[in-house]
């Protein structure tokens, strides 16, 4: 296991937000961190990065992160895109990316600019004036710039239009082929498409662990753990799900690996060292707009 949390507890503002969270992150692919609003997903991610005071143990490649400060943890090879994207509004796009350059590493600008050509053309633009989707691209671009051993991405599709969600999903899928990822995401179609293992939190505790495909195939369990099916689902309010249903694009219940094996499109080559191959092997976009979502902050 590349990352292992054991009995992680966090207290903020006098209340215990995480009450002993334990789970491993798989060495390959995407591990999804799921749960309803306010259960402590972001806090868990911040605990890993040392952005909130925490107790318990967190091991990254066997090394305890507890005594390390945030920048030291990140320098161990973790790329972090926070929930609010964390772009520096007054800095230009180029400066936002430059800030993420870590010493001693090769900086994969080729990869970042191929995935997000706009970041190059809009290099001189203050990041605060970018659209939400473009800002998310800055945030993800910053994690791909360095040779990271783990990506931690918190709600990359929050507040984005369906078309942009699809774009972000494609990038995440390609990124996940090279680097393992811990992904917080409430768009279940996207989770289904990307994630192998899933960890579900409720009230600051892990309440479920296992393959995402199994969890999401069980409608009853999904509803119980993630609250899907309540009147607030995005699909119902936006009507997106009717045209872009999950079942039509991603085989329900299949795992990610099965899917790429049986896919009619050529599967992207794995374990490749050429950063460009991610782009070259680009598949036709799959729509992943959510008919089901646990997000309750949607309009």
């Amino acid at each position: 296991m590349i990352l292992e949390l054991d009995d992680v507890r966090v207290t903020l503002g006098g209340s215990q937000i995480l009450q002993g969270v334990s789970f491993p992150v798989a060495p390959t692919g995407v591990t999804a961190l799921l749960g309803r609003n306010g259960v402590g997903k972001t806090t868990t991610v911040k605990a890993i990065l040392g952005l909130v005071p925490r107790t318990g143990t967190i091991r990254f490649h066997g090394e305890g992160l507890h005594r390390l400060r945030t920048h030291e943890i990140v320098r161990r090879g973790i790329g972090y895109a926070p929930e609010d994207r964390g772009v520096f509004a007054k800095l230009t796009v180029t400066e936002n990316l430059a800030l993420a350059e870590r010493r001693g590493a090769q900086h994969a600008y080729d990869l970042v600019y191929e995935l997000f050509p706009e970041l190059k053309t809009r290099g001189a633009q203050p990041a605060g004036t970018l659209s939400g989707g473009q800002q998310q691209m800055v945030a993800i671009g910053r994690t791909l710039l360095n040779d990271n051993r783990l990506l931690v991405i918190d709600e990359p599709t929050k507040g984005l239009a369906p078309k942009v969600v699809t774009e972000v999903a494609e990038v995440l899928e390609r990124a996940a082929e090279r680097v393992p990822m811990l992904l917080v995401e409430q768009n279940l179609a996207l989770v289904k498409r990307l994630a192998g293992d899933g960890v579900v939190l409720a009230a600051g505790q892990v309440v479920h662990r296992g393959p995402v495909s199994e969890l999401l195939a069980d409608a009853e369990l999904t509803r119980e753990l993630l609250g899907v099916g309540q009147a607030r689902g995005v699909g119902q309010t936006l009507g997106v799900g009717r045209t872009l249903g999950v079942g039509q694009t991603v085989g329900v219940g299949q795992t990610r690996r099965e899917r790429s094996d049986t896919s009619s499109h050529p599967a992207p080559s794995r374990g490749t060292t050429d950063p460009r191959s991610i782009v070259k092997d680009r598949q036709p976009p799959k729509e992943v707009s959510a008919p089901e979502s646990t997000r309750s902050d949607a309009p």
Binding site: R75, P82, L91, E95, A98
Partner: protein
């Protein structure tokens, strides 16, 4: 006309002093949310250092010594005292206020409470004729120093890696660390820069006022805070403009209205700016002080 010229340049000289103090304050508060009440003490230390060294060294080296002392004290204060208190605004305020009292008291203990006369070098003792006025040379030196610092800060912030880190840190410190950057190095650097500029203000201020005294820095600090609030956080341009405005208004009011009214005019100007524009700086100061108060209340309860 000659009176106007003299007043304007004297006001600008004062503005230059304010700028040297306020630019450091603004960077420190912008980046670290530290209201550095010890900043005036850094100035006084730099002023006495330059005054003391002036007896032994050529003037420009004495100024450099004042700058070095300001920077060194600031760096030591940051690493030894402030660093452990970034999450504790109340203690932070106590520490900087305490230093702001202790350093001048120490200086007073060694060199006495009375002002010590600064004898400027011959080159600065004279006056320069400008538009019919005889303007003391030191005004021009102060202005030149402030302009050089202004340009230097702009280049530092815009073109260097540390400048980038500082600008980003002013927006979101935590995110800077989450990109793998040790933001504390930037903290120490910014403190040292602020201390150096305060030291420079002290050394040149000694010439401008003709003397150094233990309370000098603290009385200048008040106006520097006003400049920061009007000028904005981490905004070198805003601070420069505000410093010029405050210096000029103070000088002109003191001359044309009544001596002493200049300070009041500055307060009125501050109030007007706040009324018309609202103030993000003050909001942040209020939030920071509010957090300090809350932590005291929380602990008392």
């Amino acid at each position: 006309m000659s009176t106007l010229t003299l007043l304007a340049l004297t006001g600008l000289g004062l503005g230059a002093l304010y700028f040297l103090i306020a630019s450091g304050l603004s960077l420190i508060f912008g980046l670290m949310d530290v209201l550095n009440f010890a900043h005036g003490a850094f100035l006084t230390a730099g002023a006495y250092a330059a005054w003391w060294a002036d007896g032994h060294l050529p003037f420009y080296l004495a100024v450099a010594f004042g700058v070095a002392v300001g920077a060194a004290i600031a760096a030591v204060v940051e690493t030894a005292l402030i660093r452990g208190l970034y999450a504790r605004p109340r203690e932070q305020i106590l520490v900087t206020v305490g230093l702001g009292l202790a350093i001048p008291a120490l200086i007073q203990g060694v060199w006495g409470a009375d002002a010590r006369t600064v004898t400027p070098p011959k080159a600065l003792a004279g006056t320069v004729g400008l538009l019919g006025a005889r303007v003391p040379t030191d005004r021009f030196v102060l202005l030149a120093a402030a302009l050089a610092v202004f340009a230097g800060l702009k280049v530092f912030l815009a073109k260097t890696r540390y400048g980038l880190v500082v600008r980003a840190g002013v927006e979101d410190r935590a995110m800077v660390t989450a990109l793998g950057i040790d933001v504390r190095k930037a903290f120490t650097l910014v403190f040292a820069i602020g201390g150096a500029l305060a030291g420079l203000a002290g050394a040149l201020g000694g010439v401008y006022f003709g003397s150094v005294s233990p309370g000098q820095g603290t009385s200048l600090l008040i106006f520097a805070f006003v400049v920061v609030v009007i000028g904005g956080l981490g905004s070198t341009d805003g601070v420069a403009l505000a410093a010029i405005a405050v210096g000029l208004i103070q000088q002109f009011t003191n001359y044309y209205a009544a001596s002493g009214l200049g300070d009041l005019a500055v307060v009125v100007m501050l109030a007007l700016v706040l009324l018309v524009r609202g103030n993000p700086v003050l909001d942040r100061v209020a939030a920071s002080v509010g957090a300090a108060v809350k932590s005291s209340v929380g602990r008392a309860a």
